[in-house]
């Protein structure tokens, strides 16, 4: 038993920083081709996963409340204290993010281009995500919310194959605008009602300040989620990314928006924005349906995955906006499996794309002779569409039931979008697996997934199945 379990939070945030340091000074020779730095990256994430497991064992799953606390006085005038804490919800998300990035790192093991840079920025992003998910005070929450933009910008810019720089600039500036609005709102809250995040929706402000503060906070978080009018930049960035690690990281970003809304308004949104919530819900559902339809008509697998992720992000957002916190755990458990599943799908898709480019074979039927890839991709896509293979199965049902209880029409539209995005993935799986005979014969020249990746993906499969059996397996 650890004497002071609070120290685990500090360790969680220090390990990625140490990893960055080691990655920066690691020596690479032409023979090693970036493997040293990649090993450092993988080891760092695995170490943090072990710390997370120990943290899970230390915290009690029966209480949804915040459990471990680490405090640090940063500035005396104005008095600012950083507070970090954890609960089962943030623990689930942390584990999911770590596992997704671990899979991403394994997915780029044979990518030697700027290996060091991508590992350093990936670990930096992980550090910021860890800090963000542990933050419990206004300023540390904002600090990590904004700070994660830099590693993401660098990764997308260097390895994301985004040929139009104006898209990249807009991506950064929109996010920076959102973060600046959040900062302004938090400064106002700090000066008028110095509260922690848990009590933020209870803060009493004048009418004008309420409009400014809650409006700014809502826009800041929504700017991270691909709903209209913010969907454009996210889709323009995501569909171009061929590097699986960068794709996974770019698709983790919207999670920060959903998480922010959940943390700021766990039960109810402030009265001042209540009238706008209906409009937001309508916009969200329209975005969901439209993006699912575009995904249906689009042949690009990256867009299909993006459309699938967007639909689910909006599902979690709408679940979070319901006037109850009963679904919070369900959202956390569902996201845990969901992120692992998407990361695994992306790795296999990236592998297939690379093989296809090197052999110039058509995409159709490419899986027909790749037994391992075919089996693993089938498993993850079936899990993604909601079959009882992961914690998504039960927990999505609960979320959906919650939505049905509050608004039947809304729930039906959401169901339509979810079914459509699931059909998108199944359709593509079918397309990859079955073909005419000519192309099937040629696929012999394609190599299957490397053994190390198979091991990693098998572990991921095992984790998703365990999460279906017992979502809280990592907690005491």
């Amino acid at each position: 038993m650890i004497e002071n379990p609070n120290i685990l939070l500090t360790i969680l945030m220090s390990v990625p920083l140490l990893g960055i340091l080691f990655a920066a000074i690691s020596k690479e020779s032409p023979e090693s081709a970036g493997s040293n730095v990649l090993s450092v990256g993988i080891l760092t994430v695995v170490s943090n996963l072990i710390v997370l497991y120990i943290t899970g064992q230390t915290t009690a799953d029966s209480t949804p409340a915040l459990q471990l606390f680490e405090k640090f006085e940063w500035l005396s005038t104005p008095k600012i204290e950083f507070l970090f804490t954890i609960d089962s919800f943030s623990l689930s998300l942390l584990a999911a993010v770590h596992l997704a990035i671990l899979l991403g790192l394994i997915g780029v093991h044979n990518n030697t281009y700027r290996q060091k840079t991508q590992v350093i920025f990936a670990l930096l992003f992980l550090e910021m995500m860890t800090g963000y998910l542990l933050a419990a005070d206004l300023f540390s929450f904002y600090i990590f919310f904004e700070a994660m933009l830099l590693p993401l910008f660098m990764l997308v810019g260097m390895l994301g194959d985004v040929h139009r720089q104006d898209i990249l600039y807009r991506f950064f500036l929109y996010n920076l605008l959102g973060a600046s609005l959040l900062f302004m709102a938090l400064c106002i809250l700090f000066n008028y009602q110095n509260v922690n995040i848990q009590d933020i929706s209870k803060a009493v402000l004048s009418h004008n300040l309420e409009i400014i503060v809650w409006g700014a906070i809502f826009i800041a978080f929504l700017s991270r989620i691909p709903i209209w009018p913010f969907h454009y930049w996210i889709s323009s960035i995501n569909v171009n990314i061929s590097n699986p690690l960068v794709f996974i990281i770019a698709n983790i970003l919207p999670l920060t928006g959903v998480y922010g809304l959940i943390r700021f308004f766990p039960l109810t949104a402030p009265d001042i924005i209540e009238p706008y919530l209906l409009a937001l819900e309508i916009i969200s559902i329209v975005t969901m349906v439209v993006i699912a339809l575009i995904g249906f008509s689009n042949r690009d697998i990256h867009y299909k995955i993006f459309s699938y992720m967007t639909v689910y992000y909006i599902l979690y957002l709408l679940g979070a906006l319901l006037p109850t916190d009963a679904l919070l755990s369900n959202i956390g458990f569902s996201i845990f499996s969901w992120l692992i599943i998407v990361a695994a799908i992306e790795i296999i898709v990236a592998h297939l794309e690379k093989e296809r480019q090197s052999t110039s074979l058509p995409e159709r039927g490419i899986l027909s002779n790749l037994k391992c890839a075919s089996f693993i991709l089938s498993f993850f896509i079936l899990a993604a569409v909601g079959l009882p293979l992961s914690s998504m199965f039960l927990n999505n049902m609960f979320i959906f039931a919650g939505l049905l209880t509050y608004n039947l029409k809304m729930a039906l539209f959401i169901l339509f979008a979810i079914v459509l995005s699931s059909i998108n993935l199944l359709q593509h799986l079918f397309y990859l697996k079955y073909s005419n005979n000519d192309s099937a014969e040629n696929t012999n020249s394609i190599s299957d997934i490397p053994p190390s990746v198979i091991v990693a993906l098998s572990v991921a499969m095992a984790l998703t199945i365990i999460s279906f059996i017992n979502p809280l397996w990592y907690m005491e």
Binding site: E146, Q165, L173, N191
Partner: protein
């Protein structure tokens, strides 16, 4: 009486330094570029030491030293020392004469030291005016004959500024019969005493200080000068003088012109907003790296002005923090410029540094850190500046100004993103020379200072606050 002379020791040391530099230049014929650097650094160091030792000694009613002036003087010497060191690398590598640079640097430090401590308008005018004019020597260094037209232009401008300030000082003396800050303030406090000539004189003095700072709409000279002069001069002009002008502006506004500030407040806000917009837009329109950062400097000066007025301890602390963050970052950026060299030539255009990150990863990473810090993105030091500025504006309910600053920051960030794109995302065109270890050392120290300051700023900021409020 003796203490009066002892308190003047930093200035006396600098004067001796100037004298010795001149003597060595005239009588010693085997001088190398390093000779004058070696001499200058000794005098700067001793002068800084003497400043710290006699931090609270006054020289009659002419020069007042307190924690506030000591803080600014110490910072001035520190940054001058860094620039002095880096400049030596440049002069040695090019084997160019360095006397003019170090001579003017010491002369400027002497003038600045007097201006910072000045409690007398004549001394302020003399200190600032003379240093502004002698900058001509710096601008002229290694300038070919055909490019000297803009040197003459600067000379004319500096004389005009000096004359404007002189008119203001003489005008006030004509009506008030004193140069002393305290007596001027006492007189101006009685509203019935005020006539338009007082306002005019005040506007002349403050206007000339703002022009020296390069505040919009008087910004036109700064980016041109910085963009065309040699690297050591550009680095010096972008850091040390701003610190000094800021200190003088605060000192004179608090101790002499406080009763008139309300009348001028709108002007400060207009100048601040103009500087912010012109700075942010100007940085985007440039291809010359030094000009980009000169315009971004204009943005930061604009923010400082907006936050500083009306002056109180909170606004002073905020604007000082913002300025310090800016100067530390600029010092780091210019250190990196010393490392961006190809075939012996220092790179100053955006296209010259395409893909430099692939060959100089540490320098480029540091450049990235400094630029992100300038945007105010956490967890870098710039966040501390942004926090203090935004917090100050929120406390003052100045939400419109807050929106202006945040919006302009996005425009400025676009210019930085372009630099990051060129450095990191584009293929490399040039082969870069091996970087001097000294450049790496300073860059490392600068980055460490930034990181340490942001990890635990409370002790540092607490002491700085105590020093700053000594001006009131």
């Amino acid at each position: 009486m003796l203490t009066d002379y002892i308190a003047l020791l930093p200035e006396i040391i600098l004067a001796i330094g100037i004298l010795i530099l001149s003597v060595v230049r005239i009588f010693r014929h085997s001088n190398t570029p390093k000779t004058f650097y070696s001499l200058s650094r000794v005098f700067i160091f001793i002068s800084a030491l003497a400043t710290a030792l006699f931090y609270n000694q006054n020289i009659g009613n002419y020069l007042h030293n307190n924690s506030f002036t000591t803080l600014f003087k110490t910072l001035m010497y520190l940054f001058a020392f860094i620039i002095c060191y880096l400049s030596a690398k440049r002069f040695v590598s090019k084997n160019m004469p360095s006397f003019a640079f170090y001579f003017t640097l010491l002369f400027n430090l002497l003038g600045f030291s007097i201006a910072i401590s000045a409690y007398n308008l004549a001394l302020l005018c003399g200190g600032l005016g003379m240093t502004f004019i002698t900058n001509v020597i710096l601008i002229k260094i290694e300038k070919p004959q055909e490019e000297r037209r803009h040197v003459l232009y600067y000379l004319a401008l500096s004389f005009a500024v000096f004359l404007t300030m002189l008119i203001g000082v003489v005008g006030l003396h004509y009506y008030l019969h004193t140069f002393n800050y305290n007596e001027i303030e006492k007189f101006l406090e009685v509203r019935s005493n005020l006539i338009w000539q007082h306002h005019f004189s005040f506007a002349c003095i403050i206007g000339s200080i703002l022009l020296m700072m390069g505040v919009a709409p008087f910004h036109f000279w700064f980016s041109n000068v910085v963009g065309k002069c040699i690297l050591p001069v550009a680095g010096y002009l972008s850091t040390v003088p701003i610190l000094v002008y800021f200190s003088c502006l605060v000192n004179i506004c608090v101790n002499a012109f406080y009763p008139l500030l309300g009348w001028f407040n709108t002007v400060f806000i207009i100048f601040g907003i103009l500087s912010i917009f012109i700075g942010a837009i100007g940085a985007n329109s440039e291809n010359n790296l030094r000009k980009i950062f000169a315009f971004s400097g204009l943005y930061y000066i604009g923010v400082m002005l907006l936050v500083l007025f009306p002056i109180n301890d909170n606004s002073l602390m905020s604007s000082f923090t913002y300025m310090l963050v800016y100067i530390v970052a600029m010092c780091g950026i210019y250190t990196i410029f010393y490392g961006y060299r190809s075939k012996g030539k220092y790179m100053f255009n955006l296209d010259d540094i395409k893909g430099v990150a692939t060959q100089r990863p540490f320098l480029s990473a540091a450049l990235l850190v400094f630029m992100i810090s300038l945007i105010g993105t956490p967890p870098l030091l710039g966040f501390l500046g942004k926090l203090s500025v935004i917090n100050s504006l929120v406390i003052g309910h100045r939400f419109v100004l807050l929106a202006v600053i945040l919006f302009s920051m996005l425009i400025l960030a676009y210019a930085y993103l372009k630099i990051i794109t060129v450095v990191y995302f584009e293929p490399r065109d040039n082969t870069f020379d091996i970087v001097d270890k000294g450049v790496y050392w300073w860059m490392f120290i600068n980055v460490v200072i930034m990181l340490l300051a942001v990890i635990n700023p409370k002790y540092l900021m607490h002491d700085v606050e105590l020093m700053l409020v000594a001006v009131f």
